[in-house]
Every structure is written in structure tokens, then in C-alpha cells.
Symmetry: C2
Subunit: 605 residues, 2 copies
């Protein structure tokens, strides 16, 4: 059944099936045929608000990535159109994003000088690689890979990059030039270049920062002054637009560029040039790992955001198709002289709140950006970089989640360790190292934990068919029957530990005649664990003790039947612990009688 | 409580405690005070047999490692004494071993030319690093690390290195010089150098090989001729000794060295010179990873062998102290101009069968080797290398376990994949790459499996308190209550998968009012999974569905109580599925009545 079988069938069921398949790969076909005037007006309003927001953000994130400011605007046009066709979230606003920009700068600056044409071309190459990786992962349904970035690692990453991004912009705010990509480099740069402080820039930047910080708290004041909550939120959200407009006018009026204040400068008033990224093999090799990490981090941010908002409106997001959507957006960026893009947290929330109903809102925002480029670039030329730095600082600080650190510490020390490792490595070595260290520590701790599984000797809750840990509950036990519950899948990392546990129990309980391994929590017995079970069975047999199993799950039992273990097992495999208990109690009782009258060996079952 | 507190106490309990502690770190103190004449005679017999065996093996493995033959004998003296003091296995025969020799050659030959003094010194350095790694791992109780080498990976490694070692020795058998460390290199070398075939060497080597292969099957014949099984086995085991003695005499009688047959040559008749290994930092850095892998592979081989034999005699082996024992053996090798050592499979089995009772047998074998060096080296000089090659080929082929491949294929495809990856990489890239690939594939497959956990909707087995998979058993179900059993710990890699599973169930069952997550197999809920549970709880709440938990284990519940999840949970946490079932059935029944008479929202519990 080929995807590309464009045939007209008379069978309506066939047609529905075809449409569903089409909508899976081209989500736009799921909503465009039903597009109407109401949806259009909702989407248009949202698009206008998002366009106002995206202009300063796009400029700022391009500068953060070490690229000409215009690159940010280029990255806010074609990628949005691509996502409109291939994306499944109705409200995700795609484009430049702070952490991705930081990672872009970290990947490219060892290779080329920031601001040069080679650097810009390498940014497009990075977008291409990232797009290919995302699209291929999506087509191969590899979205689950993202699951290996645990919540504490992502949260640690956001906190650390928020601080890192804010610190990196302080240099811009003070009128000092670029700095490094680790916190130490940045603070070192700041301290050693403090004598280069440019007072007019600092005055302007600090005022903008103060204004933006105050605006974040202005919501309550405005509502107390009688504004509706919607209007108040809207004005608060417009803070960055107001700051940009005011400082740009000020800069033009006082001719601040002539006084040494750094401004965005002339921007060519034309649409993004379609161009090929570089295909230099050594460059591709250098950028492969950064592209992969940018893809994963960007995807996780986007998809969790999209899922959160979709859940509020009972919509669904398909993670694997989201990979394709973000992949095509990055490919569009690559071939329009732009930079890596992903879902933007702040703009997505604004798009959602402003009432966007379909991905068409994104396409309209792209048109809005195009109009700004064509008609308003002469104004943007006067926009001071310090204003952009101030707006980045404010939005970067919202990424910092200190209560999350405390909550994680209380709940789980090992999650906290992964979180701290991520933060520390992000500060010291950058975002890439932070992500890898976080994933590494999470996996290592998980494996360590499963390699020493919890086991519990259980006893019967008197009068019931339930069996619980003898150390936590008042239970009925039998000195000749040991019931051992294993609280973990049995696999190579803990197979030997199981042997030790059983042998220790054996040494502790000289009267033991039967041991029942309760496998209710055993979801897998791999080949190594099977060897260990065979070793345990043989050793217990030599000591005259019978080994039984209980509550083995269906899939595990199916597997065991493929080996000859069950034939060698000295005891039985019981459906429930209760069945094992009653049968063995009965058997031990009968055996005592039998032993009194005959000398039959009692334990051959 | 320091280990080194040597005090004499009058309290006998205190003394017993002290002795136990001493025996933990110096296992020799556990048996030497009780040594007697009977143990001595048993150990002496075993030592004589092992000495006969160790001479050809030690020479052969030294040549395999690219070292002068005498190095193998050096490695069979001081290391055995060190292990006698610090080892916990009563029968493990320490010394040169085939796979470790192969790995030694692979590590050293890129650095120095084989046979040079620098190469020999680097071998001692490798032994030192390996010894330090083992000893430190032992003191830090890191023996569990070895568990990450799964049984299929070890088995694949043995099979592949058996073939690799046998192939590498064919060159020696044919009279062609040394070759590479991958199967391709070796076969290539063999084919391209076939014209250098030395007929007298080949005739001698092929005869020895044929003799040794026949001897392996001679046991049955000898027993049919009336020999007792013990005597027959003994004669079979002496095969290599007979081959060595015969071909050496032949070589001396016909003066084969003059005819171009490669022999062991003159060996200095003195005990190993005590010498320092190299401490060159760049060499140490180059050898660190190989030393680690040699340590792990050697340790796993030794400890599984020692445990298997100890179990037969109801003795115990302490894996962490075994690390210390093997570590000191390697340190002893490093400072006596030797090479990395570990437990030898063939000699250990012979030592055990010959009746060794304590590690003193190893010390006596070391004395035996010393006597051979002092008095018999003039004889050994005539021993043809082709005979050694033949004996290595025969013992290497015993490592190959093809039925194991088939057994693993039948039992588990993912274990089989790890096994094949190990074999393939060992062939193509060598033992180091094979080990790492095997561990990597095993872990990746385990993580992949746990990232898509098995879940089952369960129903009541009619008339019982037991609940089983509705698809496998005839069960009683209720359209308004969904009982979902989760067969895996919930952690970051599967947290999102759980959300998808629950939402899919939700979409499938429009009549559902309650969902119970049965956590009998959930051994951990980490911070990411907690976030997912909170998301599920909130989303179900919005849809008017109540979320319950059942059979949450003690440790998991303790953890959950540290968060505020249980306060937000819309439903209850039940001790058993049966309790959940009866309570909810009762509640739904009451609710139906209530709804009929009042309009109270029914699901606020």
C-alpha cells in the first residue's frame, strides 16, 4: 500500500482510509478543506500580535547566535510556511529560539568568525543537518528517543541556559562586545573588559531592562486600575514592543549611533535570498553532533509545549509527525539563508492566548514579517542592540526554575543528581555537554538502581489471599517455606545479585525446604538471568531444597517455555502466591505423615 | 574502626570479629592456620600436574602476546604467590591466559615493535595499570560493574576470540611469521604469505595438531581398553605435555632449528628480574582503556569460573575480594618483568580435578615453575613454536560455543543481537571493540524495551480475588471501570509512553468513569514519571474520569508521599486490585441510585 497511490475510488470507505493516510503525512489536508471565515478572522488577529512579538525576538536571537540581525527575520518566514503544511500542532509558533541560538553560536564559533559570510552559510548548513535528522527520525518513527531526556534534565537545562543566556547578554547591555559560551568565559570576559563600559549604551539598556521587569509585574496594577484581565495581559505582553519602539525613536531622534551606541544597522529591504547551504564534508562532519543535539533539545521543547497546549483544547499532537514538521521547517530555513529554528515558548503561548485556531496563523505571521522587511527596515536600523539584550535577559530569566530544583531534591536524590550535573556541565562546558552529561547520569543511575533490585520476603495477611512484606505488615509465615518477591525485571545487570540474594536467604534459614520466587514484578527474564535461575535451581537441588515460581506473567512464561528451564525446575510454577502457599502447606503436612510411615524421599515433586 | 588496628583484646567476641575482618582482606589467614599434612599432600599432587601443564601454555601465551617466551614463565611465579595471599577461590589457577594475551598484543603492537625491550616494559606497565584498576575496584566494592557484561556477550566474546586465536596461530603452524589482530588481517596475511610456507614446520605442527585433536577423543577408547575414568582423563589431559616432550626430543635429535624450524630458543636460566614498569605519562594514557577492558574481561572469566567450582564444593567466592586478589597478582607481574595475568580456564579445571584443596597449590606450582626455569631451560630451547601453536589452536577451539548461539537465538532475539554484535566486532575490530559493542547493544536494547513497557487491561477471574489479562483469560469486566496493569517501572524513558497508553484507552472506552492503574510491577516512579502521572490525573479530571492507584509497593508509596501527588489524585490508592474492584462496583451502583434521585456531581471522592 503505497502512500503515493493517488487514485479515485468509488468505495467511500476506501476514500476515508486514503484521506486519513494523507492527513497523517500532510496534516494540512486535515484542516484546510474545512477552513472558513471565522477561523480566518481568529487566525489573523493572532498573526498580527505574533508578528509584533517576533520582530524584536528574531533580531535578538540572530545576534545571540552570532549572525546578522536580518537572519532572524529570514528564519521567521519560510520555516513557518513549511510547518503550516507538515506540523500537527495548531498553535506552535516556529522560528528562532534562545537556547537553539546559543547552541548554534557554540557550534559555529570554533569554526568561523561570527558575522562573516562563511559563518552565515555554516548556520544554514546546521539548519539543513538538523532538518534532515528531524525529518528522518520522524519518518522512522524514532520520536521515542526524546524520552531519554528526562524531565529533571530538561528542567536543569532550561535553568542553566536561562542563566547562561542572561549572562551572555550583560556584555551587550554594557556596550562590551561578544563573549564565550560557558559561564566562566562570560563572567571572565565581563570582568576583564569592564573598563570598556560604554555609558550611553548602559543607560539605555538598563532603562529598557528596568522597564521590562516592571512591565512583567504591571498586570496586577493595570487590573486594579479597572482594565479587564485580557486587556491587561495584552498590554503586559506588548512590553517588549513598546521598549523597542521607544528606544528606536530615541536612538533616531538623538542620533545615538553617532555617539557610539551599537544599533542593528542597515538591513537589506528584500525577501530572503534562496541559497544552497555548504555541503563541505569536513564541515558536515563537524556539525553532525551539534545538529543532533540541537534537534533533540529543540524537539523536546516544542513537543512538550505543543502537547501541553493541545491537551487544553482536546486536540492531539503526533510526536513523530512533529519531527517531520520541525524537520521541514529547518530545511526551509537552510535553503533561505536562515538559521536553525524550533518552537518558541513565549510566542507559542501568545499565539494560543490570542486565539489562533489553525496553523494558518503561522503562515499569516510569515506574511507579516515579509511586509515588515519590505517596508519598515529603515526604522529598524536605529534599534539599539542594548534594547534587544534587555529583552533577551528578561525572557531568559523566565526559564530559570529554582523551586523545581527544590521539588526534585525532596522527591528523588538521583533525579536531583542528574539535574545538578546538567546545570553544572552547562555552565562549565556549554549546553551540549550539559545535555549529554544529564542523559548519561540519568541512565547510569537507573541502571545502577535496577542492578541491585529490591526484594522482599512476604507472608500472608491473615485470613486473606494477599501476601505482603513481612517487615512492613503483620503476616503469617512458615519456617519451611520462603516466599521471596522480586521487585525488578531480571536481566544481565542484576542476575548475579539475585543469586547472592537467594543464597543469603538459604544461609539464614536452615529449616527451609521450599523457596517460591514471586515474579509479579518481573517483566523480563533475559538469557543471563535464565542462566542464573538454572544455577540457583541446581544449587538448591543439591541442598535438597525445591525451587518454585509464582505469578509469572504471560509474556515471561511464553519466553521461558522456549527454553528447557521449566523441565529442569525442581518445583512448580503457580498461578498465584496463594495457590503456592496452600499447595506447599498441604504437601509439607502430607509429607510429614508419609515420612512417619515410609522412607520415600519427600522432596521429589 | 580501622582495619589496621592490631590490638590484642581479652574479649573473645572481639577477637572473632577481628579475625573475620582480617580474613576478609587477607583470605590466607582464613585457611593457613588450619593447614595440615592431608591438605599438603593433596595440594602437592595438584601442583605437580598444573606445573606440567603451565610450562607449554605459559610459553605459548607469551608468544601470542608478542613477548619473549620466558615472560610467560615469569608470569607464572610471583602472581601465583600474590593470589595465594589475597585470593578467595581455593582452586583458581592464575597466570597467562589466551584472551588476555590477545588483548595485550592488540594494545601494545601499535606502540612498539613486538619482542623489543620497550614492548616488554610496556607489557609490565599494562599489568601494573590493570592491577591498580582491579585492586581499586575491589577496595571500592565495585565488583557489580562486571554484571554489565551479560552472559550472551561473554559467550560471544569467547567464541569469537577462540576463532581469532586459532586463526592467529595458523601462521605459526605453517611456519609463516606474525599477523594482525582482526580476523580479516589474519586471513589476509595467511593468503598473501602462503608462498612462505615452511614444509618441515608445517609437517611437525600438523602432526602435533592431529595428535592433540585425537587425544581429546581418546578418553572413551582408553576406558574401553579397561582404564578407570580417572586414569583415562589424566592421560588425555597429559596430551599437550606428551606432544611438547616428543616434538622437543625430535627437534633436538634431528637438529630441526638448523633446518629452519622455529623453536623457543635459549632461555636465561634465572628467576624473574625484579624491575620497575614504565611510568611514562603518555604511555599510561594510551594503555588506560585497554588495561580497563583487560581487567574487566579477565575478572569476569575468573570470577565466573571460581564461583562455578566453589559452588560444587559449597565454598564461597567474594567477588570484591577476588578483584583485590587478581589486582595484586597483576601488580606482582608488573614488578617481575611479566605480563597481565588472570584465572586460566583449562589449568583451573585441572587444578580442581587433581584435588587442590587450598590456594597453597598455586604457590607450590610457582615453585615448580621456578625449578623448571633453573634446571630445564636447555631442554626447552629445542621446543618448536609450531607445537605451541597447535596446542593453542586446540584449547582456543574449546572456547567456541556454537550451540550457545542457537540456544540464545531460540530464547531471546535481543540477547542474540548483542551476542552477534560482539562476535562481529571482535572479528572486525578486535576484542576491545567487541566487548564495548556488546555492552552497548545490551544496554541499548534493555533501555529500548523498558521504554515501551507492556501493559495489560485485566479483569477478574470469576469467583476469585485474582485479576488477569483480559486477552489471555476468561474474565469478568465492567465497562465503566478500566483496570490497567503496568508491567514496568515508570521512569523518564517510558513516562510519555504511559500517557499515550492511558489516552488511547480513554479514546477507546467512552463509557469509562474510573481508571485504576495497577502498580504491582512498578518498582520505581521517578520525577519524570511523576510529572506524567500528574498530567494524566489533570487531564482525566477535565474529562470527568477518576484516576485510582492499586497495589503500590511500600518503597514507591514512601516516595510518593514526599510529593503532593496523592493530595491532587482524584481517586484512591487501594491496597489490592480486588479492594479497588469491590469499592468501585459498590460506588457505581450507589451512584446510579444517587443520580436517579439527585443531581449531585457523582465523581468527587
Amino acid at each position: 500500500m503505497s502512500l503515493w497511490r493517488w487514485k479515485s475510488s468509488d468505495d467511500p470507505r476506501e476514500q476515508i482510509h486514503f484521506r486519513a493516510r494523507l492527513a497523517r503525512y500532510f496534516p494540512i489536508s486535515g484542516w484546510l478543506p474545512y477552513y472558513n471565515r471565522h477561523l480566518l478572522s481568529d487566525d489573523l488577529v493572532a498573526a498580527i500580535i505574533v508578528t509584533l512579538m517576533v520582530i524584536p525576538q528574531a533580531l535578538a536571537y540572530a545576534i545571540l547566535a552570532g549572525l546578522p540581525a536580518i537572519t532572524g527575520l529570514y528564519a521567521s518566514m519560510l520555516p513557518l510556511l513549511a510547518y503550516t503544511v507538515f506540523g500537527t500542532s495548531r498553535t506552535l509558533a516556529v522560528g528562532p529560539m534562545a537556547i537553539v541560538s546559543l547552541m548554534t553560536a557554540a557550534a559555529l564559533s570554533p569554526l568561523y568568525a561570527a558575522g562573516t559570510p562563511s559563518y552565515s552559510q555554516a548556520a544554514a548548513t546546521l539548519a539543513m543537518l538538523s532538518g534532515l535528522i528531524l525529518a528522518v527520525m520522524g519518518l522512522l518513527r524514532l520520536g521515542f528517543f526524546a524520552n531519554f531526556l528526562s524531565h529533571p534534565v530538561v528542567s536543569g537545562l532550561l535553568t542553566a541556559s536561562g542563566i547562561l543566556i542572561a549572562a551572555s547578554q550583560f556584555a551587550g547591555l554594557l556596550g562590551i562586545g561578544g563573549s564565550g559560551f560557558t559561564l566562566i568565559d562570560q563572567l571572565g570576559h565581563l570582568v576583564t573588559h569592564l573598563d570598556a563600559l560604554h555609558w550611553p549604551t548602559f543607560a539605555l539598556g538598563a532603562s529598557a531592562l528596568l522597564f521590562l521587569l516592571l512591565m512583567r509585574r504591571a498586570g496586577q496594577v493595570l487590573r486594579r486600575l479597572g482594565l479587564g484581565p485580557g486587556a491587561a495581559t495584552f498590554i503586559v505582553r506588548l512590553g517588549p514592543v513598546i521598549a523597542v519602539a521607544t528606544t528606536t525613536l530615541l536612538s533616531w531622534w538623538l542620533d545615538l549611533p553617532a555617539k557610539g551606541v551599537n544599533v542593528v544597522g542597515d538591513i537589506p529591504a528584500h525577501l530572503p535570498p534562496l541559497a544552497l547551504p555548504s555541503f563541505d564534508p569536513s564541515l558536515l562532519r563537524d556539525l553532525l553532533l551539534p545538529a543532533f543535539l540541537i534537534s533533540v533539545v529543540g524537539f523536546i521543547e516544542s513537543v512538550s509545549l505543543a502537547q501541553m497546549l493541545a491537551a487544553r483544547r482536546r486536540e492531539r499532537v503526533a510526536p513523530d509527525q512533529e519531527l517531520v514538521g520541525l524537520g521541514t521547517a529547518n530545511l526551509a530555513a537552510a535553503f533561505s539563508s536562515a538559521m536553525p529554528v524550533t518552537g518558541s515558548l513565549s510566542r507559542t503561548v501568545i499565539n494560543f492566548d490570542a486565539g489562533a485556531r489553525t496553523p494558518a496563523a503561522g503562515a499569516f505571521a510569515a506574511v507579516g514579517v515579509a511586509l515588515v522587511i519590505l517596508f519598515l527596515t529603515s526604522l529598524i536600523a536605529y534599534l539599539p542592540v542594548a534594547t534587544l539584550a534587555a529583552s533577551i535577559i528578561v525572557s531568559a530569566l523566565t526559564l530559570v526554575d529554582l523551586p523545581g530544583l527544590q521539588r526534585t531534591w525532596r522527591y528523588s536524590r538521583s533525579d536531583f543528581a542528574a539535574m545538578c550535573m546538567t546545570i553544572l556541565l552547562t555552565f562549565v562546558e556549554g549546553v551540549e555537554a550539559g545535555v549529554m552529561a544529564g542523559v548519561g547520569v540519568s541512565l547510569a543511575l537507573y541502571l545502577y538502581r535496577t542492578s541491585r533490585p529490591h526484594t522482599a520476603e512476604v507472608g500472608r495477611l491473615p485470613g486473606t489471599e494477599h501476601f505482603r512484606n513481612v517487615q512492613r505488615h503483620d503476616t503469617e509465615v512458615d519456617g519451611e517455606i520462603a516466599l521471596l518477591r522480586i521487585d525488578e525485571s531480571l536481566y544481565f545487570a542484576n542476575a548475579r545479585y539475585l543469586e547472592d540474594t537467594v543464597y543469603a536467604l538459604l544461609a539464614d534459614r536452615p529449616s527451609m525446604q521450599h523457596i517460591v520466587l514471586i515474579c509479579s514484578a518481573v517483566n523480563l527474564i533475559d538469557a543471563s538471568a535464565l542462566e542464573s535461575l538454572e544455577a540457583i535451581n541446581n544449587r538448591l537441588k543439591d541442598s535438597g531444597i525445591t525451587l518454585h515460581l509464582a505469578e509469572v506473567k504471560g509474556p515471561v512464561m511464553d519466553r521461558l517455555k522456549k527454553s528447557d528451564f521449566l523441565e529442569h525446575l525442581t518445583g512448580e510454577s503457580y498461578l498465584s502466591t496463594y495457590a503456592a502457599w496452600t499447595d506447599l502447606r498441604h504437601r509439607l503436612h502430607d509429607e510429614s505423615l508419609a515420612e512417619a510411615t515410609t522412607s520415600t524421599p519427600p522432596r521429589e515433586s
